[in-house]
């Protein structure tokens, strides 16, 4: 294959190169270069470089930008965009009364600082991270700890974690230097993918899992599909199968692990719990000291369990009794042992056994042929091995001087008994009283132990057996070709391959390579994603595909400028939001009539107006609950509510739906059960969470209409809203106006008023007022005016 390298940077530290396939010079393989900020005629429109780039393009096409959107429209747009929630009536009032010339900087800053920001923008990233709370695929096991990754994403966005760190944590949070322990949960990114769990071929299973990880990370961060190169050199993009297996080796040297994750919140609860500990412990220790005083060490007898006089048990010195010798059952039977004892003097004797048992194997105790205790050996010690041996009380018995026979029975199995000990007591009553106290305190300790907070667990990555991979010939993991040193995409950079440490997987080097400021894709891909989530379309309209089969940027200079500016200012996501949200291009109206753009640029590729956008599934659900007053805005970062994910019956699914419908928090906290997603979300185009989705599809199908018309849950939201309307007063017109402000962030016009009141009157003929309002509310909540953010 012909390879020619093309020098692109002069920095000397890293040489970024482009290997020519049939696509030499593809724009995305070249690192961005600082463009000059273009000059424009209408400088009054330009609030920052973004506007200059956009207006320059418009002017060169003879187009003028649309006027600004009205303050109410813009407020609604920004709220939905930044928080995914409708503006409150108060926020609307404040905006109306504002006399500031440009109130938006303040509004934007406040919203970006809101705790609801992470809930909205974290969810965008979760689309790309194909986040799910269950495996999906063939066997849909729950992922009980996946939500810790979700929370980590939300928190990272809330505190504006640098994007380069954000990426590094997700690929190699476990390998980052100390002080970055909070990054560990980020590695959930690589762990939460769908796997074919029942695959019987472990080699294929591992290859499939790695394939999923590679394709996800390359698409999410670099806008490249690596999957094709599993079987052959990529036909269109500079990814050879050697490159693929160079990266494959990195993940093959890593493994998915569930591990303990002591969060600060957990630590606080644990500390609180531990503070009670000494109190129990001290009491118990004191009582035991007193108990010891009651035992007369003179005349004590102690003997090995295996020194029995008669018995049908087996003696083990090899395994369970290694180094100590124990007795136990030889299999299921009526086990017994008898010991002949000689007691030196009369008295009350205290009998103990040293034993080990993982599960209880109860038995009975007989003295001189008479049943004494019928429930001994109930104790468990945590295991069967010598290290689990401990002394356990068997009981108290008055014995006379002379010979006695002790018999221990246990069926069908017997705990592992090591030694017995018989000691005389000074004062039986005192001893028994102390023993009762000890039991009370021990019960207290036991219930305290039961309340011990369980350690949070996370799905994460760790380095495993480090080594290079061999090429799988035609993707077949059983047909191995040459070994490939771990490395990256040599088509983008040959230099980095040699930087790999020998004894680590290379995930950290991979993450560092991807976040190198000169990497041609990483920052560009992210900046483009962010732009697209704001505007509905990326500067590159194919956000997950920056390869040669993707689309070219409509504004390459703007994309480069934004990318380099983003990197220069510390990869700050919130700063980039601020630049976009306060630009003139963002703040244009979407409602434009008789504009030359309608014929010259009907798709609005050059941004001569704003584009109205339909709410996504979560915004719709949250907005419905928000206007109905049924949303609990407090965060819910606990484990997601439990729903049945594996092999659900129709009854389970109906129960799941009830669980979803009863959930009062924001949609981002709903469980994402792959294959059995909450159907409300699915019908509203929530992605299926198995591959990165940079841009959701937006379908209009009659099932959505059926959902909106017939969902009892939506009707309940309408009823809750109507109930409030009933409290607003008697005047239908005023109520309607307020309803419009609540739902649509504006007043109704005369036509709308007329039509709405008409419906109300028709319905009032056969229904009571609240029912009639409920039907009107229901209609307004499924209307375009609610669903489309203008």
């Amino acid at each position: 294959m012909k390879r020619c390298y093309h020098l692109l940077t002069a920095f000397g530290c890293l040489v970024w190169m482009s290997r020519a396939f049939a696509n030499e010079g593809h724009w995305a393989w070249k690192p961005p270069e600082w463009p000059s900020i273009p000059t424009v005629v209408d400088t009054s429109w330009v609030r920052g470089p973004i506007d200059a780039f956009i207006l320059n393009q418009l002017e060169s096409r003879g187009l003028t930008p649309a006027p600004s959107a009205s303050p109410e429209t813009l407020l609604r747009r920004i709220w939905f965009d930044v928080l995914g929630l409708p503006p409150t009536e108060e926020a609307l009032e404040v905006m109306k009364r504002s006399t500031e010339a440009d109130p938006w900087v303040k509004v934007v800053d406040a919203l970006l600082a809101s705790p609801h920001y992470g809930e909205r923008w974290g969810r965008h990233w979760l689309d790309v991270a194909r986040y799910g709370d269950s495996n999906g695929g063939d066997e849909n096991h729950a992922y009980p700890h996946a939500y810790r990754y979700r929370n980590w994403v939300l928190e990272a966005l809330d505190r504006d974690m640098r994007f380069d760190r954000f990426l590094q944590a997700q690929l190699a949070g476990d390998l980052l230097p100390r002080g970055e322990t909070e990054s560990l949960a980020g590695t959930g990114f690589l762990a939460i993918g769908t796997k074919i769990l029942a695959e019987q071929d472990p080699i294929k299973k591992q290859a499939d899992t790695i394939d999923e990880q590679l394709d996800t990370l390359s698409r999410a961060f670099m806008g490249l599909s690596l999957g094709c190169a599993r079987c052959h050199d990529h036909k269109f993009d500079p990814i050879s199968d050697r490159d693929y297996y160079a990266m494959h080796g990195i993940l093959k040297s890593s493994e998915i692990v569930e591990r303990e994750f002591p969060t600060p919140a957990y630590q606080a609860v644990l500390d609180q719990w531990q503070r009670e500990h000494p109190f129990h412990q001290k009491a118990i220790e004191e009582i035991h000291a007193l108990l010891r005083e009651q035992v007369d060490s003179v005349g004590a007898i102690e003997w090995e369990a295996e020194s029995f006089d008669q018995g049908n048990v087996v003696i083990d010195h090899q395994h369970y009794g290694k180094g100590i010798g124990i007795i136990s059952d030889p299999g299921s039977q009526d086990n017994y042992v008898e010991y002949a004892l000689e007691v030196a003097r009369d008295g009350d004797y205290f009998l103990e056994v040293r034993m080990a048992a993982k599960v209880a194997r109860p038995g009975r105790l007989l003295w001189d042929g008479v049943l004494e205790e019928d429930a001994i050996l109930q104790t468990t010690t945590g295991g069967w091995m010598p290290e689990h041996q401990q002394w356990v009380r068997l009981g108290v018995k008055h014995l006379t001087k002379g010979a006695h026979r002790l018999r221990v029975e246990s069926k069908p199995l017997m705990s592992h008994l090591d030694r017995f000990r018989l000691r005389r007591l000074h004062e039986l009553e005192r001893f028994q009283a102390l023993q009762e106290q000890a039991e009370i305190w021990e019960a207290k300790r036991e219930s305290w132990m039961a309340e011990k907070p369980s350690v949070p667990m996370i799905m994460s990555m760790a380095d495993g057996e480090v080594g290079n991979a061999r090429v799988h010939v035609r993707g077949n993991p059983h047909q191995l070709g040459e070994e490939v040193p771990r490395g990256f995409l040599s088509g983008l950079t040959p230099a980095a391959a040699g930087l790999m440490e020998k004894d680590t997987s290379g995930r950290l080097e991979l993450a560092q390579w991807m976040t190198d400021p000169h990497h041609p894709l990483t920052a560009r891909v992210f900046v483009n994603r962010l732009w697209q989530w704001h505007f509905g379309r990326g500067l590159v309209p194919t956000p997950d595909n920056f390869g040669t089969t993707g689309q070219k940027p409509t504004h390459p200079a703007l994309l480069d400028w934004l990318t380099l500016d983003f990197i220069r200012h510390g990869w700050s996501i919130k700063r980039l939001h601020r630049q976009i949200l306060t630009s003139s291009v963002y703040q244009m109206s979407s409602q434009v009539e008789d504009h030359p753009g309608m014929t010259r640029d009907p798709a609005n590729q050059y941004y001569w107006k704003a584009q109205a956008q339909r709410m996504d599934a979560e915004s719709y659900r949250d907005a419905l609950m928000s206007v109905a007053g049924t949303l609990d805005p407090n965060r819910d970062r606990k484990a997601p509510v439990a729903v049945k994910s594996q092999d659900p019956s129709p009854q389970d699914l109906s129960q799941n739906r009830k669980t979803y419908e009863a959930f009062s928090h924001r949609s981002v906290y709903l469980p994402v059960v792959r294959s059995h997603l909450y159907d409300f979300l699915t019908l509203m185009d929530f992605p299926n969470a198995t591959t990165p989705v940079g841009m959701r599809s937006e379908t209009t199908v009659p099932t959505q209409a059926l959902l909106m018309l017939n969902s009892e849950w939506i009707q309940a939201q309408a009823a809750a809203l109507a109930q409030q309307v009933g409290e607003w007063g008697e005047n239908d017109r005023e109520c309607l106006a307020r309803l419009y402000r609540r739902c649509y962030s504006r007043d109704p016009n005369l036509e709308e008023q007329k039509h709405c009141l008409e419906l109300l009157r028709t319905m009032q003929q056969e229904k009571n007022s609240e029912e009639a309002w409920s039907i009107l509310c229901h209609t307004l909540l499924m209307a375009d005016g609610f669903l489309y953010v203008r």
Partner: protein
């Protein structure tokens, strides 16, 4: 005019013309994929690559893996090898540990003019044997249910891909504007579950619409309903009529935005369609008009066959109304095995029960389709995700057989296949498919071919690549074409 729904996705943005987009994405009931007559004609004229031999598919899916060597693939050599190890190595990757060779506990006989072999379990099917085209050489699914089910339904055992019904809906649309193009009756939620009738990256309207909640065990036919369908009562419909009028009135003067005209009109149309669906769809599932002769033909008057008979009868009603792809799942659990046909143990008891449940309904379906003149334009496909080993599975309890993806039987009837024909063969012991091996890609290519679609030309562009149901493989089994 028409019922142009609207869909926006990455693929869509690559189309430069909006009109083209509206045509190619048109219509569909997502969940209930309705297509307009206009749309159907558009497809009929434009999308078939060559004349179709079948207009629709009824897929009788036997979940769990029916044992080919106990049902259709007669192997007398198993008796000679009884109790012995296989004379060649077992496949490397097995689901369970396998033992010695076991002949079928049932006798076999040749039936009809065609001389198809059927075991003595079949009482009714022999009467329609000559309609059946046996495919004895299916192979290359996966040794576990999940991978095998996904492979059979979507062509991929590990990646999320559109299901064959979704491809059919995408390629051909529906013949009926009031019903979905792809309906799956009482599907199981196991082993890929909804992904086995999903649209994956195809536009959502092509996904299979479950009639009956997907579940494990699967919904009984008598409880099968479409979701979010209203009660259809006059009072509710009257209110909804008013609501729709208000939606229309508000929509008419709500926007000055030209770019919203199409999507908003599409929304309005979707509401109209949803409304009409509620009026008309209940008729499909209402069996009260079926004669007692028909009910009896499907075995609906006997407890053992009642449930599957009702599913088959519903399938015929959907076929009559022009649904493009209808899947019927025989996918309950049994007291002694988890999945219907998954007889790791209890082979005799399980297979006897399973055949007893489907024999009469399936025979009735073929007879009924034939009598109504529907069989020649309807492709009936029978089979599971794999067969079962000619060896026993080691383990406790009454003897059974393990999963077997290396050679097994499916059959077709109607829709342009040679009746009474036998295609392919397994080796002497029923282990490997050796003659005319038919992979799942070949099966898919053949089905698409029968429907007038070239599997290499039925593509969808996703993430910069043209995807096919058959990936980069698949050969049409030409010799079975009538």
């Amino acid at each position: 005019m028409g019922f142009c729904m609207y869909a926006k996705n990455e693929n869509h943005l690559m189309q430069c013309s909006r009109r083209h987009a509206l045509h190619s994405m048109a219509a569909g009931f997502g969940g209930l994929a309705f297509n307009s007559l206009l749309h159907a004609q558009h497809h009929a004229a434009g999308r078939q690559h060559f004349p179709a031999r079948a207009k629709r598919v009824i897929f009788l899916f036997m979940h769990g893996g029916p044992s080919h060597v106990d049902l259709f693939d007669f192997k007398p050599a198993l008796t000679r090898h009884e109790g012995q190890a296989l004379p060649f190595p077992e496949r490397a990757v097995q689901f369970a540990e396998r033992g010695h060779v076991m002949p079928s506990p049932w006798s076999f006989r040749q039936v009809g003019q065609s001389g198809h072999w059927m075991s003595s379990l079949w009482k009714h099917l022999p009467s329609v044997a000559d309609e059946i085209c046996m495919l004895h050489s299916l192979c290359e699914t996966n040794v576990a249910h999940g991978g095998a089910c996904m492979k059979l339904h979507t062509g991929s055992e590990s990646l999320l891909r559109p299901s064959m019904g979704a491809w059919m809906s995408y390629g051909l649309g529906s013949e009926n504007q009031n019903l979905p193009a792809f309906v799956t009756l009482c599907p199981t939620s196991l082993h890929g579950g909804v992904d086995n009738f999903g649209a994956a990256f195809l536009p959502a309207q092509h996904q299979g619409v479950p009639l009956g909640t997907p579940g494990y065990p699967n919904t009984l036919a008598k409880n099968a309903r479409f979701h979010y369908m209203g009660q259809g009562d006059a009072a509710t419909l009257r209110v909804q009529r008013e609501q729709l009028s208000l939606l229309r009135a508000l929509g008419n003067q709500g926007t000055k935005d030209a770019s919203l005209v199409d999507p908003l009109e599409a929304r309005m149309q979707s509401f109209e369609l949803a409304y009409r669906m509620q009026v008309e769809a209940p008729e499909v599932t209402d069996l009260s008009g079926e004669s007692s002769f028909t009910r009896s033909l499907y075995g609906m008057d006997e407890p053992e066959t009642k449930n599957f008979g009702q599913q088959c009868l519903l399938a015929r009603r959907l076929a009559e109304r022009g649904v493009r792809f209808i899947q019927v799942s025989h996918a309950h659990s049994l007291p002694f095995n988890n999945e219907q046909w998954d007889q790791h143990s209890h082979l005799e008891q399980g297979h006897a029960l399973n055949v007893a449940q489907i024999d009469k309904p399936i025979t009735g379906l073929l007879l009924d389709l034939k009598a109504r003149g529907l069989l020649e334009e309807t492709l009936v496909l029978w089979g599971g995700e794999f067969g079962r080993t000619p060896t026993i599975q080691k383990g406790e309890g009454p003897v059974g057989r393990d999963h077997h993806p290396d050679g097994f039987t499916m059959w077709m009837a109607g829709g342009g296949v040679k009746p009474g024909y036998r295609y392919g063969a397994t080796d002497e012991l029923g282990y490997h498919a050796v003659e005319n091996r038919c992979t799942i890609h070949d099966l898919h290519a053949t089905i698409l071919h029968l429907m007038g679609l070239d599997h290499e030309r039925l593509t969808y562009r996703h993430l910069g690549r043209d995807f096919r149901l058959t990936d980069v493989e698949g050969d049409v089994a030409r010799s079975i074409l009538a």
